[in-house]
Symmetry: C2
Subunit: 204 residues, 2 copies
């Protein structure tokens, strides 16, 4: 799989650190810019189904959310300057599956805007979503999908080995032939060896 | 709602034109870069559930896809240089809803990488997904979610008024108070006027 070096910024340098500086704070204006990035994401029929809970480290919202993190996430996530808990409307939308797709796009826009601002993000799905929704008073029409931890990188020496090791995992991706395909070639009717059609890896 | 002027490129200048130049062609290397952008998107447990059908204008794959566009999309989509038909694995994944979220992120990465390359994209959900999946031979474990039309802008004079008018629609977004919230404030137990808790618009 080609590495990310050929991509444009801020995509090229995006990755998901697990060691955040627990003294760094985001300003209200910075949080607003991240939310504006989400809001200008595209969505089906401009439905904008994304909803974000803004949990700044040290706030009551953060305190209500943190107890519902999975064990593996309970160490590193609370050190981040901000967690945006990302959910989507699933009732008053044309298609709830598309709402999840649209929310993912909005979260990607947050992530890339953050990178352009010199911040790092690390998304996670490991938290008790129903319990967090209850603790946060999330309306029943909204389904929580992911958390986005946002901040600046901290010193690995400040965190337990388990969280430090997360960052050392090799970043790998599937080869393009496993994610890109072509189809629909009618083949050569006169050649039994060329049946055409069908789903096959994109050959470039 | 604040406009997009305060965002970083390529987010700032991203929008979804409906008039594509039907003479422009993408190179294989450009298509590969878009797919590499998708592949370096983050996903739950690095599951990478995204799958893309590569339908270059003029290819058999494109010919197999186009008949399944909705009436409203049948005029403008085929003029684009490329359609990536975006789907996700929904069987061999931990959570199919999260797969849809992850696919949305990968599509956003495609869209923003394209913008950085001077291209425009316009995503659409309006096509007969089961029929397109059948025509393309998409495996049953993959659910098609959206199309991404990619190319360069064409001359509005070359397209029917209906497609020209799409581009003139005002771009609007919900105010931040409708997409960002806080919660969990315990309130002041001594003040009946401050019950705290609950879901309320983020106040910045």
């Amino acid at each position: 799989m080609p590495d990310a070096e050929g991509l444009a910024e801020p995509l090229r340098s995006r990755w998901s650190p697990s060691v955040f500086d627990d003294a760094h704070e985001l300003t209200s204006a910075e949080v607003a810019t991240l939310l504006v990035a989400a809001s200008w994401s595209p969505s089906a029929g401009n439905s904008q189904p994304w909803r974000f809970v803004v949990a700044l480290r040290g706030s009551p919202t953060h305190a209500a959310f943190v107890p519902h993190l999975s064990r593996g996430n309970s160490g590193w996530v609370p050190r981040a300057s901000l967690v945006l808990v990302a959910g989507c409307e699933v009732v008053d939308v044309k298609d709830a599956d598309t709402a999840r797709y649209d929310l993912g796009q909005a979260s990607a826009h947050v992530t890339l805007q953050a990178r352009a601002m010199g911040l790092h993000t690390h998304q996670f799905a490991g938290f008790d979503k129903p319990a967090a929704a209850l603790a946060l008073g999330v309306p029943e029409s909204v389904r929580l999908m992911a958390g986005i931890a946002i901040g600046v990188r901290g010193d690995p020496a400040d965190v337990p080995e388990r969280d430090r090791e997360r960052e050392d995992r090799e970043r790998t991706r599937r080869p393009l032939g496993e994610i890109a395909f072509t189809a629909g070639d009618p083949g050569d009717p006169g050649d039994p060896g060329d049946p055409g059609g069908g789903w096959r890896p994109w050959a470039g």
